[in-house]
Amino acid sequence: MADIASPTRGVTCAATLERREEASPGVFILEFRLDGGPPVAQPVPGQFYQFNCGGGREHMLPRPLSVHGVTRWDDEVAVLKFLVESVGWGTERLCSLEDGDEVGLLGPLGRGFSLAEDGKALLVAGGMGIAPLFFLASEMDRGDKEYDLLAGFRSAGQFYRPLSGLKGGVDVYTDDGSLGNRGMVSGGADGRLEGVVYNAVYTCGPQAMMTVVAGISEEAGVPCQVSLASRMGCGIGACRSCVIEGRGAENLCVCSDGPVFESYKVAWTGAGDIE
């Protein structure tokens, strides 16, 4: 796993909501300032934080969320961006925080994407998979790396507007054709990998989609990195809650071996999804 960005050691800290913006119905961009300033490790795309969303003793498990961007990270101030879909108690609570409200964070955790030295990359995002992949694309923009980004949404209403500001080529897919191409974003990836020459694929989204993207990448001989999800306890590799099956029938620990894996390491039947 040497070519996947090596895990940095997370720290526990409190964070204060600085900005909340509804990106699409039920999906929010949340910016948190880390209280006490920036800790040692700045997160890389694909890494995640465990959120203690409050709720007293009723809710004992933290909620994992991928980093969506680094708004500021200097000697004094660290502000991180997350893209959160409200799907249950914890995310609903996060999405209804108000400026100045505090949460507990642990991170950055896990291994992020590891970028190829040069060449062009294909980024394939389905649904909330856009959270880490938009961060990745932004970082590639900063490093002047070439990429195309395929992004799938249920329909036009779910489109993530900041995509328009990216430097790379962005192609949108919707299930109902209400915006961009009609159909699955994995289908788009298929066409691309046949034609254009990419030297890496990075993907995140529902498991079915990642399974397809991993398959066609392998067929096309292009290395593919996938960002997986699974239900987590500790987030640091201690409790073995989050494991999925590797291709050698071994256990892969999503929180500390991943969440980003080379696609060929994963047994695609048991892998988790993010949506």
């Binding site: 004992m60 933290p62 507990g104 239900r231 306890g233 500790c234 640091i236 409790c239 809650s241 048991g270």
Partner: protein, 305 residues
């Protein structure tokens, strides 16, 4: 304020221990939590051979608790001895190994292997894991099986032996007495309580292993009762836990009869919480009118108010 306690001959700088299975092999936590400050570290239960554990999903949140069905995934005793225990050397904190088997003989062999390798301060004998098909809780609900396991472990090692029991029985003190007669040096109480959660949308269990073990604040009252009863019945030193989140909880467990306490599920929300608990403990003990942690053990008076 004296925080140091001695449990079955093991000296702890303070009574707050990390529970088996929630702190991995210690290594994973070590950059987050200064392990030299905790009372002791109980390692994830190991088996003779490495185990892959149960299908995912393996955890599910419930009201004031969680279900887990890890299924004793572990590296096996060989890796524990070869890789883990040496890495923990110099930690400055007592280390408890935890063992789980599917036969009496396997417990005996595990004990012998760990005893032979050295480097641990005590042994926890897990006869109460609800997440394995063979052994586990089946032993812990049966005084005879518990007794046989403890005897064979004691025959095979000189380490202080703590027997970890389940509260999912009609009368836990019967099992505790059996363990005591068989030579147990201490008890660890309680393991998770078997439970089930269902996804109504798919009509399937929330856990790949179907049944899981319930932990967290939800089970605290059950744990306190188990500890009180076992303390009264055996007088053995007890490591008590189940839902501990703050110093108030720690005090309750000590008063019920625990000599030390274990924190598990609460680590997931905030691994650093355990150090806060240790920091706040002297003040809490003082407010309870005691001069040391040990002084509180087993001081429950049976009249209310």
């Amino acid at each position: 304020m004296e925080l140091a306690v001695e449990v079955a001959g093991v000296k702890l700088a303070n009574p707050v221990i990390l529970a088996s299975g929630t702190a991995g092999y210690g290594i994973e936590l070590s950059s987050l939590v200064d392990l030299s400050r905790v009372g002791a570290l109980v390692l994830k239960s190991v088996t003779l051979e490495p185990r892959k554990g149960n299908p995912e999903p393996r955890v599910w949140e419930t009201a004031a608790g969680m279900l887990n069905s890890i299924g004793l995934e572990n590296v096996g005793v060989q890796a524990l001895i070869a890789d883990i225990i040496p890495a923990l050397e110099g930690l400055g904190t007592p280390v408890f190994a935890s063992i789980a088997g599917d036969t009496v003989r396997s417990y005996a062999r595990l004990a012998a292997r760990i005893q032979g390798a050295g480097g641990v301060d005590a042994l926890e004998v897990n006869v109460s894991c609800p997440n394995v098909e063979k052994g586990g809780i089946q032993f812990g609900v049966d005084p005879g099986a518990t007794s046989a396991i403890v005897m064979s472990v004691k025959e095979n090692c000189d380490l202080p032996v703590f027997v970890k029991l389940t509260a999912a029985v009609a009368d836990i003190s019967r099992i505790a007495v059996a363990a005591q007669k068989a030579g147990a040096d201490g008890l660890t109480l309680i393991n998770t309580i078997p439970g089930l959660a269902i996804d109504p949308a798919t009509r399937t269990p929330r856990l790949g292993g179907v049944i899981g073990g319930l932990s967290g604040p939800a089970i605290k009252p059950v744990a306190l009762k188990a500890i009180w009863e076992c303390y009264e019945a055996t007088g053995l030193p007890i490591i008590g836990g189940g839902g501990i989140c703050d110093t108030g909880d720690v005090l309750e467990f000590l008063i019920a009869g625990a000599s030390a306490v274990s924190v598990g599920t609460a680590l997931f929300r905030d691994p650093g919480r355990v150090l806060d608990i240790i920091d706040e403990l002297p003040g809490a003990i003082e407010r309870a009118g005691a001069r040391s942690a040990g002084e509180l053990t087993g001081t429950l008076t049976e009249t209310s108010r």
